[in-house]
Each structure stands twice: as C-alpha cells, then as structure tokens.
Symmetry: D2
Subunit: 344 residues, 4 copies
C-alpha cells in the first residue's frame, strides 16, 4: 500500500469493466486491487481478454463477496447488468465501501418507474434516495453513474432548457449507438454478419434510458417533460450520437447557441463546443472522455438541431465513473482521464 | 438486334452506372448497347471495375456524344453529377432518345429553387416542365428519377399525409446513408479511415434533396410543407434509413398505420410494410428494389415514428430508374427487378 | 406444378440455406417446395429473416422428416452442420431423393480421416463412396458439395499441379474468410465488437478442410500431398481469399500462368483469370458464383504467389451447389446463376 | 520552458503525425513546441483534425523551415512521405537538431537499393551511414525508425533466425494491414466503398519494405536472405498481422518457440509472447505499443507458422519513434508509452 485509493471492479469481464481497467492504469491516485467476475472467478483475466496480458499485477478474477471486497478495497465500481446491482450495492454500502454504480439500478428516484421500464424489482427506496445521480459534489459515498444515452442527450439539452430557449414538449431525440453498448453477451443481435453493413432501429420510445432523461429534464424545466426517443444500432463498435430536435422560443442562431453553451460549460473540461455550422462526429471523441456538441438552427422551421457525441464506453460509462469518483473524493476532475481521442 | 430496347448509360463509371449495368443483365426486354464515360472513353470498363470482367459483350467505354448515342440506343440513362445532365439531356431529347435522368437536375419544377439549392445554372424551363418526376404513367419520353433520400422519405410519408393523419408542419426527418451515396469521387470525406467506426452529421437543413421532398409533400398536402431534415453518413457502403417523426391528428396506433399503408401500397410490389412493432433494417433490402416500412406510435407524445429503408443504389437510383423505364414503356413494373435482398 | 424440379432445403435458417433461397428465385427449372429447419419448424421464415418477406409462396418452415420431404420434393439441399447430414442423407437417399449435401460429411473418402478432423462419427462407408465430390458429371443422385476454403484453394492450384509447374511439397495456403463462414450460431467469436477492426488467425494447420484439399491434390499430383494451411477471420461478412505460395519447377512468368489457366478453364464460365500483374479482390466476386484468380511470379525466390477469391456463401456454398445440380441434371451449367457481382 | 525536451513534428497533418501528438500528451519529459505541415501552414490543426480541439496549447501549424524549427525545438520527428525526408533531414541535422525519421528514406544502407525500391533519389551516403536503424543505443542524434511491416515481421523472425531454428531461404511472409497505413492522401484505393467488405492483395513481392526486412535478416543470419513477401489491405483502420512461414531445422514444438522467444524478449516490455497454441489478433494491441506473437508448429510439414501483430500507427510508427527517442536520450524505454490496448 502506497497511499493510493484501492479500487475493486465488479463486472470486470464486461466491456465497461475492462474499460475501467484500461483507464485506471493511468490514474495517479487509484490502484486496482481486485477484478471481480461472478461467472469467471478463479480464471486469469487475460484468458478472456488477451489485450490485458501483462497489464495487471494481480490478474486472477475474484468472485463476488462483499466482505472479501471490503478487505481489499476502499471503493467499488459495479459494472453489472441491471438487476444485479440492486441487490449487491446495499451489501457493499453496509460493508463500508464507497460505490460508483454503472448498472442503472439507482438512477430513477421512483422505484415504480424503475420497475415499469427495467422489468426488475426495484432496490429499496432508502438506497434510491441515497444514490447521488452524477452530481458534481464531493464527500458522498454512493454515486449512480448516468447512462450512455442520457449523458449524450442531457449534455446536449440542459443548457438550452435551463436558458428557456427551447420548448420542452417539442423535444425529439434520434440516438445512434455502436454495438459495444449492447454488452459482451452473445446473441443474434450482435452477430457480426447481422450488424455489418446494416443500420437498425430498436426499442423506439421504449428504451429504459427514457425516464432517466425525463427525470433530469423535468427537474431543470420545472415542469413534466416527455420526449420522443429513438435508439438505433450503427455498424460500429464505439460511439453514440444524439441528434436532438426542438422548437425554439425565439429566433436564436447558431452563434447564439455556441456562446450559450461555451459559457455554460466554462470550467467543464470534458465538453467541447464546435464552432457555428460545424458538427462533431463520433470518432472525434473515441477512446476519450469528451462530449462534443454542435448546432444547426433553421429559420424556416424555427427549430434547432443539436448534435452531441460521446464514446459510450468512456464518457458513457467507465470514464464518467472515474470522473465522478474524482469529484466524490474532492480530487481534480481530470485525474487519470487525460486521454486524447484515438484518431483515426 | 433481337427486338430488345437498346439502352445507353451515361456515367457508367459511377456507382449508379455500374449498378444499372448489374441490374440490366437480367432484364428480358433491354440490352445495353453503349456504356459511356466522359472521363474514361476508350478504356475497358473492367479496368476500373474488375467485377464486370466478362460481363458485357461490348465493354469499351464510349465518349459522350448525343448523335452517336442516338445511333446506338433507344433510351439513355443519365447517371451523371448534377449540373451535367442539365446540359446533356436537352441534346439527347432532341436527338429523339427517351431519357431517364438520375442526376437531380430536373426534379424541381422551379428553376430558381434549383439554383438556390444545387448551386448550378438551372435547365431551361421547358425541360423542367417536360420532365415527369417518377410518376407512374406510360408513354412519356423523359423521366426525372427521384433522389435517394426523397424516395425513402416520401414512401414513408405520403400515405399518412394523404390520409390527413399527421401534421405536415411537424415533420422531422432524421436520415442516415451509406457512403456509396457520396459517389466514387475521391475526397477526405470518403476516406476509409475517416468513415470507419465513425458516425457523422452533414448538411443539416441544407441538403439539396429537401426542396424535392417538400415539393411533393406540398402537392399532396395541398398546403406549403416545410420540413426539418438531417443527413448523416453511416459507416457502411449501401443503405438509407429515414427515421421520420410527426405529430398525429388523432390517437392512431401502430396497427392502424400498418393497415393504412398496406392498403395504400396494394399492387405496389416493391413496398413491404412490417407488422406492428417491427422495424426494418437497411440490410433487409440490400441489393434489391424494395422499400420496407415500420411504425411506432406513442400515446405519451401523440407522435408517430416511421422507419423507412431502401438500398440507395437500387431503389434510390438504378433500380427505380429501371422500374420507371418499365412503367414508361407500359411493361410489367417488376421486369428485371426480381432481386431478392442479399443477406447477410 | 409446372414441370419444374421441386427442391427442399434442409437448414433454411442458416446462411447457406437463405442463400439457396435467394439464388433459386431466378432459376428457371427449379421451384422451392419446402424450406426446412429443425429448430424453427412451424414458424414463418421471415420472422427470422425479414429480408425474405413476400418472397416465397410457401414461407412456413417444415420440420425434418425424410418421408414428408419425399412427398414434396425431387431434390434436397442439405445445408446442415457437419454431423447432421451424416445421419440424414442416407434416409433421404433411401426415400428416393436426389441430394446435394453442403455439410462436409461426405467429402472425405476415408471415414477414419473424417473422424480425425471432424470429431464426429463418420457416415457409413457405402455412402462415402457413393457421394460424388463436385465432379462435373451428369446423371448422379448424390453430390457432396466442396467446402468454401477448398473451392478457392483448389481452383487456384489444380491447373499448376496438373501441369507439373509447381512443387507439391512446397505449397503454403494463407486463407482469409469473412465471418459468414462461421454460420449464424451465436458465440463470442462472431460478436461484432470482437470482430470489427480486428484480424484473427485460427485453427492453424487444424482446419477440417485441410484433408479435403489434400485428397484432391493427391489425386491430381499422383503422390501424397501435404500442405501448410492457415485460416484467418477478416472483419467482413462475405468473401474468401486464398493466397497460395509454391516453389516453381522452372522459370515461369506471370503471363505463362495466365495462359495456362485461361486454357485450362476454357468453357468454365465461372472462373475468370486476371491479366498478368493484376490481383483479384474479394468484393469483385461478391454475391456471384465467380472465382477470380491472379498471379505473381518472383525470379528472386523461384516462387509463384496465386491469389484466388470467391464469395464463400455463393461459389463456396449455395451457388456451387446449384451449379452442381445443373450438371447433375444435364442442364446448362449457368442456369439460375447469372448474377453479376454486387459492387460496391 | 520547464526543462522538458522540446519536440517538433513535421507532417503533423498525417496519421503518423497526429498519433505522435496523441501519444506525446502523456510523455513526462517531452513537450510539443511546434506542429508543422507544409500544406496547411497557418491553419489551426483542429480544422483538419477536430479530435485535437483544445488539446494543444499552440495549435497553429507552422511551415517547414529548418532554422525556425531549430529555434523552437531540440528534437524533430519527421513523419513525412518518402522522398521528402531525404532532403529535409540533412538540413535539420546541420541545424543541430536531433532527428527521429519515420519516412523510410534512411532505412537502407545502400542508396542504390533505396532508389530501386523507392523510386526516389537516395539521400547522400553520409547520412545513410549516420542514421541508426532502430538500434537500442543511447547518445545518438539521428534515428531511422523502422517501417510498420518490418517491425511486425522482424520481431516475429529475429529470435528464430538468431537461434538457427529456421531456414532463412524458406521464409514467406503473408502480411495484412489496415488502411491507415496508406496515409491520409485521397485516392480510389482508400475510398470507403472500395475497401469495406473487401480484401485485397497489392504490391506482391514489390513492397519497398522488403529490402529493409532482408537487410536486417541478412545481418543476423550472416548470409544473404531473400524472402517472399505479400501485402494485403484488410477492411479495418488500424493493425498489421504478419503471418510468417518457415521450414524448421529440427522438430521444435510450440512450447519450444514460446520459451525461446520469452527468453529473447526478457526485459523488452513491449513484446508479449502468447502461450502455446494461442494466436494474437490485431485488436489486442490496438492503440498501444505492444507487439504480440504466437506460434503453430506442424510435424506434418516441418514448418512453423509465426503470427505477429502490431498497431501500425503506434508500434509501427509513432509509438516506436517515441520508444526510440527514449532510448536515444537514455531514458526509461516505456516513458509516455504506458497505453493499455483499447478494447473493444
């Protein structure tokens, strides 16, 4: 022990888990002391992920045991499927661990709404209320990390909503995701031959990230916000683009939006606003924690189109989780996250 | 000569041109008598397109000469960049040839609007009025083939507009295209390393296909229709998906839309309507002349989401051009177009 | 019934099966009377393969029952996993059906060798001897369709071996395949995120197609031929390239090889020999039944490099099966196979 | 100035240049003081590469001027096309700068051989002799960084050659590269629609990296080594796999090779040897400086197959250049190169 915060990762054999491993290699204040997998305990992590050969000092996967984790770690990242964290996180918290949960189980304050959209039993209300949803505050013990679609969507919408520039009831989000968002489980849906050279829509208006987005927009707008939200699978591994449409309350132009957003995100190192008339592409943030945003306003229709892109595995999951850990610990927000996008 | 209609293809070294060659190989009533390229006249077509080795009887590329074409062909497909057909087509018509134009130069009835969106000098008005825009009528001599984005969009919108089910002023089209739509010209935009694992928005509200869509929607709605229209480049070669959003005038459900569209498209062999709750993917029409359409209605927002997919090179260009030739000649609409989608 | 040959397809929900369906749509002498799937009997084929919507007249999947098949069909294509045909084909033959088997179970004349490489129980010897391995003869009842890798490899090697131009003991084949060759079963191996932007070697010197290639080369060379054979997965859906290396017995140049092969393949409509110094790419045969071949000779090392490409699903499976049916029936070899490659 | 080594990058708008920028962001001892582009001087680097927005302190591209560079930098990376460095590097050296050249112009000791393979005028012999070819020595001023194909090939071959285990005259290298290796220049060769779903062979036995490989192998073997070398373009952006074939001098098995190589590469942190029977895939090193190697030996043919993979832009260019700078400066070899591969 050299004074670093000791971190355990539950779900180390999922894409979110291995990305946490990748990113934490360069974190100056954190060391990984346990990589955990319910399905592969006892195996070496490089058997399933040869890219991790010779990376970790301790590369044997542990099983899921709250007491054992508490003996090895100070903080736990739970990168588990939804429904699993609901049961596991309370045990971890009771064992005195700090928790950053990536599962989605604690993002909705209303358990009934969780059950409606997630089709799992909700966690106890006390935990739903205890979870801090990606807030930028220090000193908390339990953070619920925002979802990938909500991250791209909310970063693209919040400043305009808060400024009262757009009509909340007019919001339509057309989102596109790379396949890594579906996780590493095998199914026909992720078969290469079914995805390659193919573009698919799925779960239209039914994705479980919709109430998460609406919860935050409602908080900010001060009125109930209901959106139209479409998810698509694009033939690529990483990246999310949210193309967002909304009616404007006045004749703002692109430069107006650029200035509004640049002002709003001053001091927020991971949001980059493109110049007027320039739109970001997903690859321009690949492998990094950035969210890039651009605008098109249209006098013909009075609508604005907002294009927001992230790397779903970094800013949409592991990177933001580390960023939240940094904030929670009172550290510099950018610690361990200085990754320049990988291009091309 | 065995009584077949003799066809010439101007622009045989573009993607639309080679697709016309591919599809016409199986047309019982048409023979290709001249493949034409302004840039490669005198060369063998298989030098640039080895996949065409041993396919054509006459595989030497001709130059562009209206008189020469008139000596060899009865009908000409002009698969040229916009701005080129504007000058060439009048010569071809005067030489007594039938013309199916794929360039876009004759799609807008209003020359001024053409010049605003296309940034080229408009064809003479007499030709703009003479061009028949993808109408389903026999006996005409000059057809202006609809664009790729308009085809996917209009087939997805027209029945609902005509039925008065949706609000024209609420229409938002989020369209995604494969890279072949950009043509075979070289540029950084189509560089593999810039496109692969990348998803891009471009020409938001500025694409030259917008007035083409609005012209038809306005005709049908009986009022001026203005839409929000976004184009994206997806990392794939073929395929267009138009995800269309509109406010509904009543509480229609998905089954209502399925029935409306199936009725509307009865006897239209190339449109396939998916069952309620099922959305088509671009690969399900790849290599074929089909347009597949699915619906999601949302009681929460009162909107319908319509998903319409085509193969941009077939239904969005060469296939529809042949279909239009068939109609123009009074032949069975499906002649030479019985291609089952290539899957996977 | 209009006098067409009635065909049943066992394994209609695999990639080979749906490709047989696609290709047979344009066959003038064959009609599909039964699409068969052991796992999905009773379902509509378009539920799993929406691209086949409205394509087949009878689109309900049948179960596997030899007697039932015999009541509906004259010929059966068995596009089944290896091990399944071994048991099924004898029943089909006894029921009086003609069979074209795509499984691999009947390609090796030696049952012991089959069991060594395939790890299944071999079919009875009487059937192994009865199966005709892709020979170009009429009047037989049971054809064992060559494998995808053997097709690309043998078409590239046989003329040079037969001419005595290359040293059999020096042959090294470096083969690359698209992912469709792995079939539609789900596994981590075919997960999009694991394949995309990835190039993998697998089963080096252990692929079950090795003895099939060696059996034919040995027949032709008149001596036991043993090869080095590597298989790779390329991030693409369709296509096989075999890059073949061999020591030459004399100082032949590229033009010599071009002439030797063009002469050998005269009258063989599906093999196209590139000019000296030009190499075929997989996309140049995509969707078609062609095998394209090119050559590089090297005076520095005395070796020739032969590049042979096919579409693994067409020439490597369904297309060649139809070609073999045509030959078996005494029909024109090209019937129903006039597909121009789909490009781009 | 805070005591860091000041680095300039000539060719900052090529893929090698921007990768140097990405990697150097995390180098503790180096700061980038000038990004240089002959074609885009005066522009902001993020105009062409938006992923670099807000990354560099000084993001205005400089022109190419040796004196100006000498005023700003201590070391220059020349990531230029071949033929350009030949003229530029002598000026940089004379201006007192340290140089790491990525162009290939100084890799061959024999100017005549350079001119034969590269088709450019060779640099003066004095510079060819002065250039240190990727040697692991401190204190030199001018390093010629090895090529991408040679790096993958030589790391896979050198231990076996040095041990005398394989026959030099039997070596055949079947190499596959992602498209970024072709650079950012536009041409039909790199058009997305021509590359996607396509696998191509090119420059068989004619690639300019052949003499570079042979020069080193000859040095090590102590006899003139001539190889067969094939290059292929795979439909992916990054990655090289060299599949290497050679006849063995004895009956070594896979474990023998694993042990030989692990011993040889002890203390070499960027080479990882897979266990017997396991082969590396290109994505397992993506974004990192690793070279991963695996083996298959075959008693049937007496040959070994060696699979060696790198990220062509990192280990094959920018990463190795930084590694060589580290060695040249007497620093820890791994400084600034601790990138875990990006997966998936």
């Amino acid at each position: 022990m050299d004074g670093k915060l000791r971190a355990a990762i539950v779900g180390s054999t999922g894409y979110g888990g291995v990305e946490l491993i990748r990113l934490l290699q360069s974190h100056p204040n954190v060391e990984i002391t346990s990589v955990i997998s319910s399905s592969s305990a006892g195996a070496l992590i490089e058997e399933g992920f040869p890219h991790l050969t010779e990376i970790l000092e301790n590369n044997v996967l542990d099983g899921v045991d709250a007491a054992e984790i508490a003996g090895k770690a100070d903080v736990v990242f739970t990168a588990t499927p939804s429904g699993v964290s609901a049961k596991l996180v309370p045990q971890l918290l009771e064992a005195g661990l700090k928790v950053v949960d990536l599962s989605g189980d604690f993002r909705l304050r209303d358990g009934a709404e969780y059950e409606q959209w997630y089709k799992h039993t909700a966690p106890e209300d006390i935990y739903l209320q205890q979870a801090v949803y990606g807030e930028r505050v220090a000193g908390v013990d339990f953070i619920s990390n925002p979802g990938c679609y909500p991250t791209a969507t909310l970063l693209g919408l919040v400043p305009a909503i808060e400024a009262g520039w757009i009509k909340p009831e007019s919001i339509i989000v057309d989102a596109k995701s790379g396949v890594s968002g579906a996780g590493r489980g095998t199914s026909l849906t992720v078969h290469y031959a079914e995805i390659n050279e193919n573009f698919k829509a799925y779960k239209i208006n039914k994705h479980q990230h919709i109430p998460e987005i609406e919860q935050t927009l409602t908080d900010i707008a001060g009125e109930k916000v209901t959106i139209t939200f479409t998810t698509h699978l694009a033939p690529m591994t990483r990246g999310i683009m949210a193309t967002i449409y909304a009616g404007m309350n006045d004749q703002y132009n692109e430069q107006d939006f650029v200035e509004l957003y640049r002002k709003y995100y001053t001091g927020r190192p991971f949001v980059r606003i493109r110049n007027a008339g320039v739109f970001p592409a997903t690859k321009e943030v690949s492998g990094s924690n950035y969210c890039d945003i651009g605008f098109a306003t249209d006098v013909r229709t009075g609508r604005v189109t907002i294009v927001s892109v992230i790397d779903n595995v970094v800013k949409g999951a592991a990177g933001q989780a580390i960023q939240n850990l940094n904030l929670m610990m009172g550290w510099e927000e950018t610690l361990g996250l200085g990754y320049t996008p990988v291009y091309p």
